[in-house]
Symmetry: C2
Subunit: 328 residues, 2 copies
Amino acid sequence: MNIRIGILGYGNLGRGVECAVRQNPDMELKAVFTRRDPQNVEILTDSARVISVSEIKEWKDRIDVLILCGGSATDLPKQTPEYAEMFHVVDSFDTHARIPEHFASVDASARAAGKVAVISAGWDPGMFSLNRMYASAILPEGKDYTFWGRGVSQGHSDAIRRVPGVKDGKQYTIPVESALEAVRNGENPELTARQKHIRECYVVLEDGADAAKVEEEIRTMPDYFSDYDTTVHFISQEELKRDHSGIPHGGFVLRSGVTGWEKEHGHLIEYRLKLDSNPEFTSSILTAYARAAYRLALEGQSGCKTVFDIAPAYLSPRSGEELRKTML
Amino acid sequence: MNIRIGILGYGNLGRGVECAVRQNPDMELKAVFTRRDPQNVEILTDSARVISVSEIKEWKDRIDVLILCGGSATDLPKQTPEYAEMFHVVDSFDTHARIPEHFASVDASARAAGKVAVISAGWDPGMFSLNRMYASAILPEGKDYTFWGRGVSQGHSDAIRRVPGVKDGKQYTIPVESALEAVRNGENPELTARQKHIRECYVVLEDGADAAKVEEEIRTMPDYFSDYDTTVHFISQEELKRDHSGIPHGGFVLRSGVTGWEKEHGHLIEYRLKLDSNPEFTSSILTAYARAAYRLALEGQSGCKTVFDIAPAYLSPRSGEELRKTML
């Protein structure tokens, strides 16, 4: 029998999960739960239903894993523990500093209900965390680096759009190539924020706005831009729509470490993602971890898990035997 | 209490494990077991002993994990099942095609003895396999690529040295940069052996040998060189020693895949290793998996495991709480 999937929240992430489920033949999307009027939500999967979240309890026995596609600021801290009482759940909670408390609240709820809950299963946190962890376990003496981009930062794009005179805008975070190269060469550089990332802004001005003033205001904005080399390009709304409506992202996790009795040998471990669609890639990870949650539950496990706690084989539809034969 | 480690076999790999154990404060090297006369084996660790392998049984209760540092051709197929009857064991068995049978024989022995045995825990098989598996679980529709190098191939270096007129030699396997770039650009190329790797040979001739004839014989050697663009450099024994006595290696695992309802978004996952010392890096992985074997055993598990079966957290000396706080 296929793994029966539910999606809570139908934004970019929810739609991405819907697409990912279709790419996994052992899964079936049963329902999308929404806070909106279900009449007004159109999904892509003919065989799945759109249901008001107020009726979600009735789906307790019709769904195996509920994939939570809300935001980390306010949705997930409430939703993940709440729905872990009814379903095995997976989320991509990404507020790094609040992971310990999120884990604790989800764990309590999932344990009490005998459910499996996987949190923070995206790419950072998620795949990047895994790579940081494997690399530091293999090379205990070394230095970690994470670079993000080239990609759209939602937070920084929002910040630009709050500047008076700005009609619309997008911000790209870009790793500094020379810093990446220094890390790859084993130079173990100490890098400031400015030395690691460039910020590139594409801005549409309101009619009559003062470009020089807007540029100055963006470049000197504390926290967001003042610590970086920031370039501002003024473009038309049409250009923004044509050239910058995608949501690409990615980045690099590197560990540079030493081995040998005299620490005479250097090694570099590098993990890189280059993503056309940030939300769809995150959705694909969520979907793979939904399979893992389902399988762990079949084994009688319960409680909150992260990517660190789940053996890789649980993510794959292939059997252990097949994996050893084809992928080891 | 520290994890008590034993090493079987004291070549490059065994010495590498000795160095790695010193970098892991929760471990202690107790003994190196050797087939040679222990009097003639000098190790680096003052506090550890060198013991004849004939006495290994007496160490049954003095060692937690035995790390097997023999070769895959003849040593490990015999040693891993044999010593899994006495110890938790870890090996880096790397004959891909024979992994299923090795797994079966080790599993039977380890299960019967209630021991944990981890096999094929190097970088390929090992870390490369893990990355192939994670990437294909996340992006079910896509294409895998593995490139090796730049690094020394022991098998190809041996093949060179068997050519009449060759006194000594080393062979480097080098990925073709343009092929790598095509993969990174999402072109999903179909690549022949020749299009993926270059073979570079450094050869010391016997006195009076015919260089042109040696070069021709190397370049046309079936299986080893004839399917590749091979360059042959003639150098002196001194130059070989000075410039080519290291054992660097590494490589790239890439997966290029698509997501979206119309498969409209492309993604690239790339994992790269750049290693000054192939055996020391493999040793570092073996050592991290020795920790995992020990912990799995503490939980009452037994039988044969591969990197696919072991949750990442078992490799790290840090607690789950600490990992979530610092690395997730």
